[in-house]
Symmetry: C2
Subunit: 342 residues, 2 copies
DNA sequence: TTGAAAGCGCTAACAT
DNA sequence: ATGTTAGCGCTTTCAA
């Protein structure tokens, strides 16, 4: 084995230059003046540190200080652009403050999410960012007792869990309102996981928009129950085989939309001639899809940025925030996937 | 502030049940039998640990053992599906072995990559996975002196840096060969960063395929110089304005391809009627793009899996591998973006 | 079969 | 103005 040139320690440095470790520690942590350490000494120490390329062992510092300058993240699927964009927003923000992120993928499974939280807690992360997978939140409330936590996307309004999400109600309302304004009255929606706040809020927006226009709600038009590609595919297949298929559909995630596109294409239907579609969640590659979809765009990277700032404030003990959650406005993107029936 | 229910420590547990911390540590680390600790004692300890929900402080363990069970990752852009898929492959594999990942995004900047390595080193990661951004590798060779390192995608064959990548030469050769077999002789390629191994290997494959068919290489057909969307867009724009545009183009990344698609669409050209295209890097959403592209697919998640296994072996001290690098075969995906000119 | 004690590298309270 | 020392929570050598 070759010589492992492991990092130089404070003690090593002390031995070299004849000052005590604590003096060196103080100077290197910018407390030289506070402790009235002479300018000369400070210079000697700083020069030596630079010369020998000293950098502190963050594990040791973490143990001593009981904080790791580390943030734990648990997300359902890092390969989904929605989540990877959130992570980028988080990483960029945390980097600025000298925090590193420990990333865990929960594979959309609640058991793994729970396991992740335990691991991250044992790693002494200073804060946690979770995009929860399920409808259950006991483990989250539990972890909050010991670690600052922000949840993104799915949230639990009735619980004291601070969150960052989109204004799902308004986004859905706008979309359905738009469809109605184009003459659609038979509008299906393929929903995600029932019982999760974003989904239920979108459903509420969908209903309210129809009610406002005095359109009877056909309960069989509300289908689905998962955010994945298969749900979009299967439900669209079924919708298309109806005697009178809806004239429009509203899909509740980027993945559902992709599944829907696949089904529509397979059945040789075209958008928007045969069926109109609006997607909640803009797809980052939307401009390049065979049918650019009208979408309700969420400010995904911003959700990451804001969550990072919130949790850093919490870590610092700042508690300025009245509100428990932040709901970011969505943006309606008009493309060519809705037919004007008027 | 509410009472921080911080984790219970070994000492806490010792106080509760009257055994020494070392005994407890041994039992909980599965060394009870080795140290011939009585079954009863073992049971008492295990039960107590479970009852009080003890889990070890991994920072402390890391400091003591000088290993953190942590792997550092530096990648150019987590929101790019290519990289996020690699990360998923890595995460899934590391999770199985009890390793967590510390993720750093280098934003495609060499300075940030260097900074990342320093941070990760100070965090005592047991291993490093890097998707390098640049052509320079000094910092990588340097870090290798102290930490096991695997690089993915771009590699440096002349240096002792173990890597996992695709067989870029063969993939490119196959693609160009296919184009020629369809009657194309004027084939442009939009390359990525010159001087990086994957790019140069693809160029070599491109040239060799043309040479084999005795087609003169038109050097002005080799354009580009970056892997991003803008490069694809700009270069395609330029290609299309030529007096005699090439009949086919070969793009060197998923992002370049997207840029090319945008340019082609803007100019009201259609694929493959006006121009044929093959993309190196399949796009995960390729099936849904307005033109499903013939692609050279890389086994991305597998690259993550293999790298994880390699580095875990290195950490364990296993040195079974003769070869310095692993090149995974690519797969040619035939879709409808190439016109048959014959 | 179990306990005592050292020590990983750092910071900070307490000397001097 | 700088040094000594304790201790973060864990593992492991040495002792008994």
């Amino acid at each position: 084995m070759s010589k492992k040139s492991s990092n130089i320690t404070l003690k090593d440095l002390a031995d070299k230059i004849g000052f005590n470790v604590s003096t060196i520690s103080r100077v290197l942590n910018g407390k030289g003046d506070e402790y009235r350490i002479s300018k000369e000494t400070q210079k000697i120490i700083k020069d030596a540190a630079k010369k020998h390329n000293f950098t502190p062992n963050l594990t040791a510092r973490g143990l001593r200080l009981k904080k790791s300058h580390t943030i734990g993240i648990s997300i359902p699927d890092i390969s989904n652009p929605f989540f990877s964009t959130i992570v980028r927003g988080l990483e960029n923000e945390f980097r600025k403050s000298g925090y590193s992120i420990v990333l865990c993928d929960s594979q959309d499974k609640i058991e793994i999410e729970i396991e992740n939280l335990q691991i991250l807690k044992n790693r002494n992360v200073d804060g946690l960012i979770v995009c929860p997978v399920g409808t259950n939140s006991d483990h989250l409330v539990d972890i909050l007792k010991s670690i600052p936590l922000i949840i993104i996307d799915r949230y639990f309004p009735e619980l004291p869990l601070q969150y960052v999400s989109s204004n799902n109600y308004q986004g859905a309302y706008d979309a359905v309102n738009y469809l109605v304004s184009k003459g659609h009255r038979d509008i299906a929606c393929i929903q995600g996981i029932v019982g999760t706040s974003p989904n239920d809020e979108r459903i509420r927006g969908y209903r309210d928009a129809l009610i406002k226009h005095k359109i009877d709600i056909n309960e069989t038009n509300i289908v689905g129950g998962n955010y994945n590609i298969e749900t979009g595919y299967i439900e669209t297949k079924l919708l298309l085989t109806r005697k009178n298929p809806p004239t429009a559909m509203f899909t509740f995630s980027n993945m559902i939309s992709l599944g829907a596109l696949k089904a529509i294409k397979e059945d040789n239907k075209s958008i928007p001639e045969d069926i109109s579609i609006i997607s909640f969640d803009d797809h980052p590659y939307s401009d390049f899809l065979h049918t650019p979809l009208n979408s309700v765009r969420q400010q995904i990277a911003l959700m990451g940025n804001i969550s990072a700032k919130l949790i850093l404030d919490r870590i610092k003990g700042v508690q300025n925030y009245e509100q428990q959650g932040v709901l970011l406005p969505t943006e309606f993107i008009e493309r060519q996937s809705v037919k004007n029936l008027k």
